[in-house]
Amino acid sequence: MAHLRIHLTFPEDRVRDPIIYEISKNFQVVPNIRRADVSDKTGWMELELVGDLSEIELTIDWLRKKGVHVDPLEKSILEG
């Protein structure tokens, strides 16, 4: 079992999508939300995905294709 902690940022046209429901429906991963702040224009969410690494990676690819910005929980790690 792999655990991956991520920070999601939603663009305006994705804020109302039932993303978590869709993750559970389409992938063998368990999403566990810890913090979120979603308004009608933008939003972010911090969660842990638990499952096989390959399923987690498929989930992340799917999120990116939907236009959701996926970062590690630490956000930008690469510094100047």
């Binding site: 308004s39 972010w44 970062d71 956000k75």
Partner: protein
Amino acid sequence: MSNPSVPIQSDSAAHSGVKALKCRECGRRYELLAIHVCEFCFGPLEVEYDYDVIGRKISRQSIEAGPVSLWRYKDLLPVLGEPTAGLHAGMTPLVRAERLGKALGLKNLYVKNDTVNHPTLSFKDRVVAVATTRALELGFTTIACASTGNLANSVSAHAASCGMECFVFIPHDLEAGKVLGNLIYKPTVVSVKGTYDDVNRLCSEIGAEYPWAFVNINIRPYYAEGSKSLAFETAEQLGWRVPDQVVVPIASGSLLTKIWKGFHEFTRLGLVDENPLLKVNGAQASGCSPVYQAYVSGKNHIVPVRPNTIAKSLAIGNPADGFYALDVVGKSGGQVEQATDPEIIDGMKLLAETEGIFAETAGGVTVACLKKLAQKGSIRPDELTVAYITGNGLKTMEALAGSLSQPVSIDPNLSSFRQIVNPKS
């Protein structure tokens, strides 16, 4: 290696004012280990101090009697024993910038000159001095970071000076000159194929997997505290005073929040009088300004951006402390400004021509934003103002290509000199 999850208790630990790690969001407390995230809410952890204990130990006199480095403020830094790395970091000049001030219409301007920090010529030597000392206390023998520039230089140099193993992660398309600035110290430089997003994700996973001190991941709560020393030095060098306005470059936003914290700690401990006027202003490059965008939109949501600016040291698309930096700017009554690439170059040139300080692009951002704040009247002429110049121009010379005048070329004789140069006196 020894077990990094067991902090070493030195004699002084019992009397230390360093209390715990504390979640910035839910307030839960954790032991002083190599951890950075609250297990409960995923909020970032920050070092908590016991200011009563510190207040009994620290005074202007005790600080003045300390070493000529940031370690004179050791009581307010998150280490338990004596410093073991970066012993010469900090205590950089605070320059009374009369000529730059004149150009900008400011009568009371100072420049904090971290272009001459030791050993690698940027403010990162402060945070890395603290991170390395703490990493050694925690028993780590390997130190790591992910960086395109200043941070990697500093981590590589500190690791070399302490005999630690060192891993530096860089994107595969980094300029040769920047890579060389790390290689000379002989760390393992890992060039990662892929986008910046890929590098970030890989490093997060490596940080969770390997028993290393990853300075800006699991050591980040300690690392970040090193930036407070910029505020401490400023206050001391101003004759134990807090300025009215400061201008601070923003990448992750950590530096800005810690400068604010530093002034507050000094005030709380009675080392300086409170200055309720203090405004903290942020400076970003237009080509990467997520904090500026959030500031002008009036929302506290940071929307990640894809960086495209010559100010590469500030090119952080999704800043970890962006939200907290916005909060500090807001509650202090400061502002966030942004500067375009040509404005950044002009800022670098202006600083060099007026004060003789050759700053990197981040310094150009700070000067350009300072200029805008002065022109708008947001900084008034008589306000005591400090601009933080955080990195050295010798590191970003490529940014100046084509923007400086050429040397005057003459034949090797006096008449050619008289004819072509013809100086007035």
